[in-house]
């Protein structure tokens, strides 16, 4: 009964903060609860609620009101309409959330025109933050994970094949990986882009198998598609044929691991967050999550993006004492640092307003009877979005 629990906890959170409400900061929170990948929205909202609950006492009496809206999946006109309403009618101080790139892009002009700071908590196409000076991103870009992945892979393997979903993040991942892989002396045997909604994967896997690369790099949106890919990889015996499966962390997102089963064992990925990471901040985060939402629940990278998104907002409120002047808020965002995020130290690049973070190489292993992404090494430290760095050089 997710719905009722959510509603109840929301009501509680609001009631609790309402005690000494002189000032209210309104956050227009738009994410996807229904439609394609509608499963990700709740992770985002839970993470934000959890952070607010943990830190409401630090707010000095400023009340935070979260106005949640469903953009029904990759539905930019809907997202834009909701943003417009939140700004015009509800007079929100901040916009936040957004799973899908097109939705973020459609909302960009609203943020600019209305001067409303907009915290992107997921959508990961590199170009997004260039679309409005009022955007800041606390999640990731695909280049951040795929580029170091390519660098690392080029040291171990000679040939690679890439298989990505045919949309912005997929293209970013493909470009980031192959650029790094080829710079490191590797050879791309092929690149395939797969429709977002693709029923059967066997044909693609067969194609890869017959090309006999050393390594297959996969990016697909997190969720059940990832499971389907893993199963097909194993069903067609690519592993036995000596092909290694790697990718940005979306292939083995923490919440899907139980569905994948043993086929996921040994898969190597590069990502900024693993629920299984052993740093104390993360252990505390996971424990709090399980306490709040149940022992079987695990946070994922969407959750951590939103959790840190809530952190940046709460810190801004504290610093500005609730007076959320848009330009001052943006100034604060640009210099924000958090050495204690569950994913390690992070900060915002003042120039691009994009996240700066570490990237970890992980392997799926069995830990205490459960599958988990175990961090092996840090392959990049305080990494800025490589795409934007390359753009600057041009």
């Amino acid at each position: 009964m997710n719905m009722f629990r959510l509603a109840a906890s929301a009501a509680l959170a609001l009631a609790a903060t309402a005690v000494s409400a002189q000032q209210t900061v309104k956050i227009g929170f738009i994410t996807s609860y229904s439609g394609l990948n509608g499963n990700l929205g709740p992770y985002m909202e839970r993470a934000v609620r959890l952070y607010l609950k943990q830190h409401e006492k630090d707010l000095g009496g400023v009340k935070v009101e979260l106005l949640t809206r469903d953009d029904t999946g990759p539905n930019p006109d809907k997202a834009r309409q909701l943003a417009q309403e939140l700004v015009v009618r509800d007079k929100v101080n901040l916009l936040a959330g957004v799973i899908f790139t097109p939705n973020a892009m459609a909302m960009a002009p609203i943020a600019t025109e209305a001067k409303v700071p907009f915290v992107i908590m997921n959508a990961g196409t590199a170009v997004i933050t260039t679309r409005s000076p009022y955007m800041v991103r606390t999640s990731f870009t695909l280049w951040q994970s795929s580029y170091p992945l390519g660098q690392w892979a080029s040291k171990k393997y000679k040939t690679a094949y890439s298989l990505v979903s045919d949309f912005g993040p997929g293209h970013d991942s493909e470009e980031g990986f192959s650029k790094a892989f080829e710079e490191g002396g590797g050879k791309m045997l092929g690149k395939v882009r797969v429709p977002l909604q693709n029923p059967d994967w066997a044909a693609y896997m067969q194609r890869v198998k017959d090309a006999k690369p050393d390594v297959l790099m996969v990016f697909i949106p997190a969720g059940k598609t990832a499971t389907a890919v893993m199963k097909n990889f194993s069903d067609l015996g690519l592993g036995q044929a000596g092909i290694k499966l790697i990718g940005p962390g979306d292939v083995t997102t923490d919440e899907e691991l139980p569905n994948m089963g043993d086929v996921a064992l040994g898969v190597l990925t590069v990502h900024h967050y693993s629920a299984g990471a052993t740093r104390p901040q993360n252990k505390a985060f996971v424990a709090a999550w399980k306490k709040e939402y149940g022992q079987n629940e695990t946070p994922n990278f969407v959750a951590v993006g939103a959790y840190d998104g809530a952190a940046i907002i709460v810190d801004a409120i504290k610093a500005l004492k609730g007076n959320m002047d848009p330009d001052k808020t943006m100034e604060f965002f640009k210099t924000w640092k958090n050495p204690n995020s569950p994913r390690g130290p992070i900060s915002i690049d003042p120039e691009t307003r994009d996240i700066v973070q570490n990237e970890y190489l992980r392997e799926v292993k069995r830990v205490g009877g459960q599958l988990a992404n175990v961090e092996l090494e840090t392959v990049a430290t305080a990494l800025k979005d490589p795409w934007k760095e390359f753009q600057k050089k041009k």
Partner: protein, 332 residues
């Protein structure tokens, strides 16, 4: 109610939607972006009613024209720098008309499930093109950078959506006037004849197929204009304007309001979008449960859509004063 026995004067009830829109503008200025969205979908539904309600063409691919119109307007601005609103509308109308004529000429000889699948396949192919041709359309990331110059050089599209709302309202009013003229014309009467009994229409010498192609083209044009409006209001085009989903949505909205009665296209989108918007704020993960229940309820208890309920009530009331209700050329 169309045809040779119809009273074509505008009844006072027909002004109600416009009065309501006017009141909405002044009384609920904070909801204007939602309002503009509703107006656009009313126009889209109206275009569908012309072929579904009056000519009996059941389609799951009407988004092909809506989407083509949206992309035409968007590409014109974002890629070619043509920012004049009326030029964009005209181009969208022209492209959609062309597509309507071409595809209509190929598929309108078929019926029922076959027609349903052909229309669906056409919009699915357009969706694939929009997805793959990303240099032109922006692909799955959507087409941003669309701009619309101030209307007549005076009215800028503002953040509150005032200009957008009035602009959509004026376009919708013009479209309503056109549609109303068509359905009360001999052509409209002829279309209801085709819907009612196509074989008989052949036997009285009507070139049924070409007549259908013609009205399909008109309807496509109007859907294209609706799509262009969506682009202009949002300054953005996403892939979601094409494919099965928007086609299904608009079909549901129209049937919900009532098919073949002109104002069903007004009532359906208002109810659907308002219910969806309200439910989604309360239960973002489960709002479609409520919509589903609403649809099943309408099917079981209110055939003929929401306007059908009013008809039944009126008939009941009239049957007290008159012995027998007169014939009505209403929907099935």
């Amino acid at each position: 109610m169309s045809g040779y026995s119809a009273d074509t004067r505008i009844r006072w009830t027909e002004w109600l939607p416009w009065v309501a829109a006017g009141l909405f503008f002044f009384l609920m200025p904070e909801y204007l972006s939602l309002g503009a969205r509703i107006l656009i979908f009313i126009l889209f539904a109206l275009s569908l009613d012309l072929i579904l309600g009056y000519a009996g063409i059941v389609t799951l691919g009407h988004s092909a024209f809506f989407g083509l119109g949206a992309y035409t307007a968007g590409i014109l601005s974002a890629r070619l720098g043509v920012n004049d609103a009326f030029l964009q509308l005209a181009a969208a109308a022209g492209m959609s008309a062309l597509l309507g004529m071409l595809t209509g000429a190929v598929i309108l000889r078929t019926r029922a499930l076959t027609l349903l699948m052909l229309t669906l396949a056409i919009t699915a192919i357009l969706l694939e093109i929009a997805n793959k041709w990303s240099t032109m359309t922006g692909g799955a990331d959507g087409l941003s950078g669309v701009q619309v110059s101030p209307l007549l050089g005076l009215f800028k599209f503002d953040l509150f959506g005032r200009t957008a709302f009035l602009y959509c309202l004026i376009v919708l009013f013009a479209a309503w006037w056109v549609v109303r003229r068509i359905i009360y014309s001999p052509y409209g009467a002829m279309l209801t004849g085709i819907r009612d009994n196509a074989a008989r229409m052949h036997a009285i010498g009507a070139p049924v197929y070409w007549r259908l192609v013609m009205i399909y083209t008109v309807s496509a044009t109007m859907a294209g204009v609706a799509g262009a409006l969506l682009t202009q209001v949002n300054q953005f085009v996403g892939l979601n304007v094409l494919g099965l989903e928007p086609s299904g949505d608009i079909l549901v909205m129209l049937i919900l309001g009532g098919v073949g009665r002109l104002y069903g296209a007004f009532v359906g989108p208002v109810v659907y979008i308002v219910v969806q918007d309200t439910l989604a704020k309360q239960y973002p993960e489960y709002w479609y449960f409520g919509i589903g229940v609403l649809l099943i309820f309408v099917v079981l208890f209110a055939r003929g859509g929401i306007l059908g309920i009013f008809d039944k009530l009126r008939d009941k009331w009239l049957s007290h004063s008159r012995p027998k209700s007169s014939a009505r050329a209403s929907a099935r």
